[in-house]
Symmetry: C2
Subunit: 573 residues, 2 copies
């Protein structure tokens, strides 16, 4: 009888255990976890904090409402489950693990034929003074989430500071603001939210939306210390630029792989952290597999190693490990890095590499932004859905896609479509012709994703020349930034009137259908910044002007919709 | 100066014209249409009829609200536009077309260097008596849509019969019922709605939803004639089984390519209809291109020729033709057949081949159905989203995906993800590991699409054995159908009680967590049909029973949710 020992009872561990047991009903499979709460949906924690989920039990229940505790796994799944049990050593030579009870410190040796390490991740703690104060939480386990929920419910908390502007920090801030109405602030060390996942300006649009929903957001600020009361409760967060009062601090500054046990057993562990595995998820010891947040990943887009602690990947990896344990040669070839999150009335998602990451990784990268409708523009519920496509100018491969849209599955539909394509090294042309399903209530005849690929094509072939949005905003604020710039507003006269009045000689109005007749009105020796609502009319005007010899033009990419989403509300309409 | 003549002013024609003009601003491009209304979004007609779109002008406006009439294309786009102008002959030898004014029959010769045929499709008319009566409409043009809208608005219509249960028929029926509250009936000749696109039972679920929304649906009924009043107005639709009173009849029985002009010019036209093109969309005359509803398509999944009249494809093809006209070697390699539609509170979509089609095309096809949650099951707005995956058992390639879910973009997100993968010949494994973006408000950790691929994997490896849903329903109604069947309900005792009582000895209740202890209660020499809510518990029970030697079991795929969606409301809870 094959003996399989699995260390870790959340996501990858239980998934491996159950799948392996189904494939090998005769195997003896032992699932070990140091905690008493296992197999919970950690990604659901912000929704438990935010009140959409009433009871933490829901996060560790099956879809048919059974709590996934040790009894469930024993009775329903036929596993041996040891909770509150810590593995203190892996003896690879004699193939056993030594475990110790967390309750009474008794020890036991458990032999294995195959071992699976699914020890997950642990939350980072900033190396600053004051992190041991009361009222400071990471969201590394369901226990701490229950504590946070309890404290919020007790009603003594007024001000919450979330350190970290990544997905978990933002989700927690939303949950706390939305459900509890507390003064909520996010502090992010890097200059933008969701660094590495999302490029400016989508990250900036998200920031604006959070601010509109009463979440204070400070980016580019280092937290330097935490101050406490005499009783040892946190009372303030000190940043490089301000002091923020706080009764509660959520520290969401990332996680790192829990790989110490593997390292101690002499398994290959990446110097950057993460157990090294092959594409069958075997460690450097072929009898030992690893999966989930504790492993190093292979990024299919960059071709490099990376770290991707995501519950969805952990589950997919668990199935692959289960297959291999049973002798089915499954592979997990790597990750694309798909990501999505809700933020109040909007959602933001990405897959593949961001532009910033692509540049760092050495690609000849370029990016385009579009602001297409998410569904037929003639339907009343259509909305703009800015997309950013990142591609390599040399290979014409699409490296990444990001989207920001109204809450719903519209962004998801584009991210998911792109994820598989990017993993398969699809090119701009593949995306232009990707057969997105079409009916007016769901999309436009040329889907926003296809249209974005078309813009990438135009740019890559030198037909489309785009301005820097940041430079344009700077110029709006101060024309001396670039005295040679003149804005040419190609919207209808009525739409462009107020801006043309406001910026006077810096802002010309020539409606798009009139450009062929009126282009001679344009000034010579000035660089023209062509403007419209979404960027499409501007592109056509640019092409036409090129054909009549007016070649020094740039289009404001994504049009004025981008500026409005960036919160430039002072911009007169 | 290059002269390009484009025949056809809707979708492919204008798209080709505008893209070509942008690439070759110096070219003289003439767009010809026999109608006066051009460049309208034909797919939006049901939403104009249904009132979401107030004005037909919206269907022919740009996203920035300019009406796309002949002046727009001339002024803004720099084209020459000839409306109400019919091309009566293509002279390929001397490279000109002869056109005739629809108004005054004057003729003119227009020379071309390149010609583009984008003549679209024409609506089929059933070869039955009475089709010339007043009140009978096809939705082949915006004019007829305007007529339908006008008649409905006049208030003299009480009963509408839609002939044809394809997408357009259903969309029209919904629009008429929803907006106007008229007694609306769909009659479909084939045994199910959406034949060729959607397999039973999703098509049947859709039918149930239409019926719940007051649309009468008769499938498997041939319309044999149309009866009229003495004044020549339609008054009834006679089918093989009944007489349906009707003041208005919408005939939505498909379209066929308008390829006569091409044929007359000696271009290669498929015997089944459709101009034959290569992957650069050139016809058999290399100076002549064709795009849109008038061409034959290459199906990327079946590898065979097919016909796919869709506005989204027409637009993508238009861009490819434009590229090639300008010397950029773009290709349109074929279609996957992506499709989506709204139906009241639900939506239904598909991509690739349906099971029925795959079998017809000679694949070693199999299909699985799942009823997974569209988002985390612990969130209050989650819903079941039945998916069907069709795959080839020999190659393990996924051939098609279909989904039925609540109205929104959740089904779209899975169809779009599958479309690109299927076009790239992805296998079941590729779908298992497809990196769908995950957060609880959008999906489950193992996305419904991944989970469906896992079920396909289980089935293909012989681990999962499924019952026929149709056979099971028949047995429910009459146990003598299969006297050797016993249902084993693995839901919690409380859930299974009423069915167990109702079906008494035919229906055993053994809750899933108890099966390991209680399996010896199961009868010998009977085939067991294992049942639960969604099919997942049943699969685990099947696997376990197999391991203890009880091998004659079948799982009800998709579980009882499928039966409920099929309208078996009499089934006691």
């Amino acid at each position: 009888m094959k003996k399989i020992v699995i260390i870790g009872g959340v996501a990858a561990g239980p998934k491996t255990a159950c799948h392996a047991k189904r494939l090998m009903p005769e195997a003896e499979i032992t699932l070990i976890d140091q905690d008493d709460l296992i197999s919970y949906g950690g990604c659901g924690i912000p929704y438990f904090i935010g009140g959409e989920v009433n009871d933490e039990k829901a996060l560790r229940s099956t879809s048919f409402h059974m709590v996934r505790d040790e009894y469930f796994f024993e009775e329903a799944k036929g596993l041996i489950v040891k909770i509150k049990t810590r593995v203190i050593e892996i003896n690879r030579k004699e193939k056993f693990v030594t475990v110790e009870s967390v309750t009474d410190q008794t020890r036991e040796k458990i032999p294995y034929d195959n071992l699976v390490i699914a020890t997950g991740s642990q939350s980072n703690i900033l190396p600053i003074p004051g992190t041991d104060l009361k009222g400071i939480f990471t969201i590394g386990s369901l226990h701490s989430a229950i504590d946070v929920h309890k404290q919020l419910a007790e009603g003594n908390i007024e001000k919450v500071v979330v350190i970290g502007g990544g997905a978990i920090g933002i989700e927690m801030a939303e949950g706390i603001e939305d459900m509890w109405g507390m003064e909520t602030t996010i502090v992010e060390y890097l200059p933008q939210l969701l660094p590495n996942f999302i490029d400016w300006p989508l990250a900036e649009m998200l920031k604006q939306h959070l601010i509109e929903n009463n979440v204070k957001v400070f980016t580019g600020e280092a937290v330097t210390s935490l101050e406490g009361t005499e009783e040892g409760n946190v009372k303030a967060v000190i940043t490089s630029q301000r002091k923020l009062e706080a009764d509660m601090v959520i520290m969401a500054v990332g996680v790192r792989p829990r790989d110490q046990l593997a390292k101690a057993a002499g398994l290959l562990v990446s110097p950057r952290g993460g157990i090294v595995v092959n594409n069958r998820l075997q460690t450097s010891d072929p009898d030992i597999y690893a999966a989930g947040d504790c492993i190093e990943s292979h990024n299919l887009v960059s071709g490099k190693k990376s770290y991707a602690p995501l519950g969805s990947l952990a589950n997919r990896q668990g199935r692959v490990v289960g297959d291999n344990l049973a002798g089915i040669p499954s592979t997990f070839n790597g990750i694309t890095g798909s990501f999505i999150m809700k933020a109040f009335d909007t959602c933001i998602g990405s897959t593949g590499l961001s532009y910033d990451t692509a540049i760092k990784e050495g690609f000849n990268a370029e990016k385009v932004i579009t602001t297409q409708s998410d569904r037929a523009h003639f339907l009343p519920n259509q909305a703009q859905m800015p997309l950013i496509m990142v591609f390599d100018k040399t290979s014409r491969k699409v490296l990444g896609l990001q989207g920001f849209g109204p809450m719903g599955d519209g962004v998801l539909a584009r991210i998911n479509a792109a994820a598989g394509m990017i993993a398969k090294s699809a090119t701009i042309e593949d995306f232009s012709n990707l057969e997105m399903a079409y009916a007016p209530p769901f999309s436009t005849a040329v889907d926003a994703l296809n249209a974005t690929a078309n813009v990438a094509d135009n740019l890559s072939r030198g037909r489309f020349k785009q301005a820097s949005i940041k430079a344009f905003i700077k110029w709006l604020e101060d024309p001396k930034t670039n005295p040679d710039w003149i804005a040419v507003d190609t919207r209808a006269e009525n739409d462009s009137k107020s801006l043309a009045n406001h910026f006077s000689e810096r802002w010309l109005s020539i409606p798009y259908p009139e450009i062929r007749k009126r282009y001679q009105e344009l000034p010579k020796n000035k660089q023209l910044i062509i403007i419209c609502g979404a960027g499409t009319r501007s592109y056509e005007v640019q092409i036409f002007l090129d054909s009549v010899g007016i070649k020094d033009t740039l289009v404001l990419p994504g049009g004025l919709i981008v500026l409005r989403r960036l919160g430039l509300v002072d911009l007169p309409e």
